[in-house]
């Protein structure tokens, strides 16, 4: 191994890549702007949509009963609903979003309440539609309050205490510190984004430095030099790794800046909703030590990704062919990373050996403040072993004429 040759190749590849617009986009632009776009963009859109939906007075109708006018009047008086006549096709009107929801009140409902009979109110809504959901929620709240009032009145009539039907209250209090809450909420998302960015950061340089070079005819020029094949692979591989780690570093810097900016710009917006009203912000609740742990865990994974993409792209004779090999790999990476985000999936001995999924799970734990050192060591070791194996395979493939001169 000749360090001079490796560094010569690496520095040339770095210079070459930094002059290439496509590499700059995948290595710098995407990782730098993905976080702000996701947090500001999507977050802002969500907040706005939700606020707009909340601000709207929902149009509802009272259907079914022979004498529903009293209920309709109470709904109107509450000021929270725009009560309209249901019409014949009120179900279609809900589906067509002309009517947000409808409530079916049985005939004799008012009299039944006074006489102590049991009644049944049905709320009709459009499942999964935000505004319809909000209208149904408001209707639900209205009738719950009416039920509460009725119960209180009936108890008072009989001179019975309210505790007869409400013997105790249930209160939920969060005891987890804000960073743990944040870790639980975003612990899956942050490693997922970092893993994906690590992969995309490695992807373009890997394709360009292998299949791209073969296609442009520069690979043969390089092979004519007296540098050992293994040194060429290592020089190129270091560039691919730079792409991967660079993307991760930029995404983290961007994440930190976005977190700071989000704290300033979105007070009480997504921040509080995101943290479940725990008092912390959306991003500031991420434990910096946990984030450092994520970086340490993702580094061997970046080596693994870089070597795997490098080896696969090496087989292709053109950039386009390499893309068709590597693009499906994105799904292979995304799936386990996504599974790691799902609630309820916890790390165990078997899962600790599944590449990517193990990383996603352990990162989620670390961000939640759980440091399970046995698993951390096992995952770090296994990822490093996978990475070393992939790199050895890359060197082996590079030495094969059938791979390098595949026409």
């Amino acid at each position: 191994m000749n360090r001079g040759s490796i560094s010569t190749i690496y520095l040339k590849e770095l210079k070459d890549s930094l002059r290439d617009r496509r590499t700059l986009i995948s290595m710098i632009v995407i990782p730098t702007f993905v976080m702000p776009v996701l947090i500001f963009g999507v977050g802002k859109i969500m907040t706005k949509t939700f606020a707009k939906a909340r601000a709207e007075t929902p149009t509802v109708a009272v259907v079914g009963g022979a004498e529903p006018s009293a209920v309709a009047e109470q709904l109107r008086e509450s000021g929270k609903f725009n009560v309209v006549e249901p019409g014949e096709d009120w179900r279609t009107a809900i589906s067509d979003k002309r009517l947000r929801a409808a409530v079916e009140v049985p005939a004799g409902f008012e009299a039944g309440l006074r006489e102590g009979r049991h009644g049944r109110v049905v709320i009709y809504h459009y499942e999964g539609e935000l505004k319809s959901g909000l209208a149904a929620g408001e209707l639900d709240k209205f009738f719950r309050e009416l039920r509460e009032r009725t119960v209180t009145e009936r108890l008072e009539e009989r001179a019975l205490p309210a505790t007869l039907v409400r013997p105790f209250d249930i209160v939920r209090e969060n005891v987890a510190p804000p960073e743990k809450v944040g870790g639980n909420l975003f612990g899956g998302l942050v490693p997922y984004l970092i893993i994906i960015l690590c992969f995309t950061g490695a992807m373009y340089p890997a394709l360009d430095l292998t299949a791209g070079e073969k296609e442009r005819g520069t690979m043969e020029t390089l092979l004519c030099s007296p540098v050992a094949r293994a040194d060429i692979v290592l020089g190129k591989f270091l560039m691919v790794l730079t792409g991967s780690v660079g993307a991760m570093a930029l995404s983290l810097v961007s994440l930190a800046l976005t977190a700071a900016a989000a704290g300033m710009l979105l007070p009480g917006g997504v921040a509080e909703q995101g943290a479940g009203g725990s008092g912390g912000g959306l991003i500031p609740t991420i434990d910096p030590l946990g984030l450092l742990g994520v970086v340490a865990m993702v580094l061997p994974a970046a080596v693994f990704f870089s070597a795997v993409i490098f080896t696969i792209a090496l087989f292709a004779k053109s950039y386009k062919e390499a893309q068709s090999y590597v693009a499906p790999m994105m799904i292979v990476v995304m799936m386990p990373a996504m599974v790691g985000m799902l609630p309820g999936i916890d790390l165990n001995l078997q899962l600790a050996l599944v590449p990517i999924l193990n990383l996603s799970l352990v990162c989620k734990e670390m961000l939640s403040g759980v440091w399970n050192w046995h698993y951390i060591a096992l995952i770090l070791g296994s990822t490093a072993a996978y990475a070393a194996g992939a790199l050895a395979l890359a060197v082996k493939m590079f030495k094969r004429e059938g791979v390098i001169f595949r026409m």
Binding site: G4, E220, L223, C224
Partner: protein
């Protein structure tokens, strides 16, 4: 000095089976001489040259370049060889100067030696005008000059040219031919593959005729013409190849 002894390369193809791209090829050439490898497209010229440049490993046989064995000492061989082919392209995003310097560094030259070599090559090849321009912006002739500078940067003892005039205009092709002659004058061992008869006549001291991976005949162009009773090398080439085809036809 370059010597090939029974150099053989067999490729295995799923559809076509076993292909003997080079079949027991033996020849020898000395410094200050140009050895021409003449053959039609697909005759096996590139495979032979790639084995000499250690880009491919021989299936059997042996070869030595400037005293080094191509199988056992490939890196030392490459340090003695300058290889130029239509398939050896330049890095588009590097300038001509950066390209020469890069290959100088890969050949172990110091920064001072690289500066000196770049200056000298730029002078000899008249590259000053475009030395700091990116290769992707260069004309075909400028690219060819840069490629030549790239192959010369480490002052190799052996120069291998694989169809270097392929696809070039007349003026650029003439400049290449002139440059190859200069290499001979400077005492380099030159191997030159082509399928253009006029280039062989103009350049080569010895020519080896290759067909279906075999070296069928060898000698000075005049000698080959005389041996086959022809005034034109092309006619002699056709006769040599036809005789081999007839022999094969008779054998089967």
């Amino acid at each position: 000095m370059v010597e090939a002894r029974e150099l053989t390369k067999v490729f295995r193809d799923k559809k076509r089976g076993e292909i003997r791209a080079a079949d027991a090829v033996s020849f020898r050439t000395e410094p200050g001489r140009i050895y021409g490898v003449l053959g039609a497209n697909g005759a096996g010229k590139t495979t032979i040259l790639r084995m000499l440049a250690t880009l491919l490993q021989p299936t059997s046989g042996a070869a030595s370049v400037a005293g080094f064995d191509v199988v056992r000492e490939p890196e030392r061989v490459r340090a003695q060889v300058g290889f130029l082919a239509a398939s050896t392209a330049l890095y588009g995003r590097l300038t001509a100067r950066e390209t020469i310097a890069y290959f100088g560094r890969l050949n172990g030259l110091s920064d001072a030696a690289i500066r000196e070599r770049v200056a000298r090559l730029a002078e000899e090849l008249e590259m000053h005008e475009f030395l700091d321009r990116r290769c992707e912006k260069l004309s075909t002739g400028m690219k060819q000059k840069t490629s030549i500078a790239r192959m010369l940067v480490h002052d190799p003892a052996v120069m291998i040219f694989d169809e270097p005039t392929l696809g070039l205009d007349v003026m650029t092709a003439r400049a290449i031919v002139r440059f190859v002659r200069d290499c001979r004058a400077r005492g380099k061992t030159v191997i030159y593959s082509t399928h253009i008869m006029s280039e062989v006549e103009k350049l080569c001291d010895t020519v080896g005729i290759v067909h279906r991976g075999k070296l069928l005949a060898e000698g000075a162009p005049a000698e080959l013409r005389a041996r086959w009773g022809e005034n034109d090398l092309e006619e002699a080439f056709v006769k040599i190849v036809a005789a081999d085809e007839n022999e094969k036809g008779g054998a089967t």
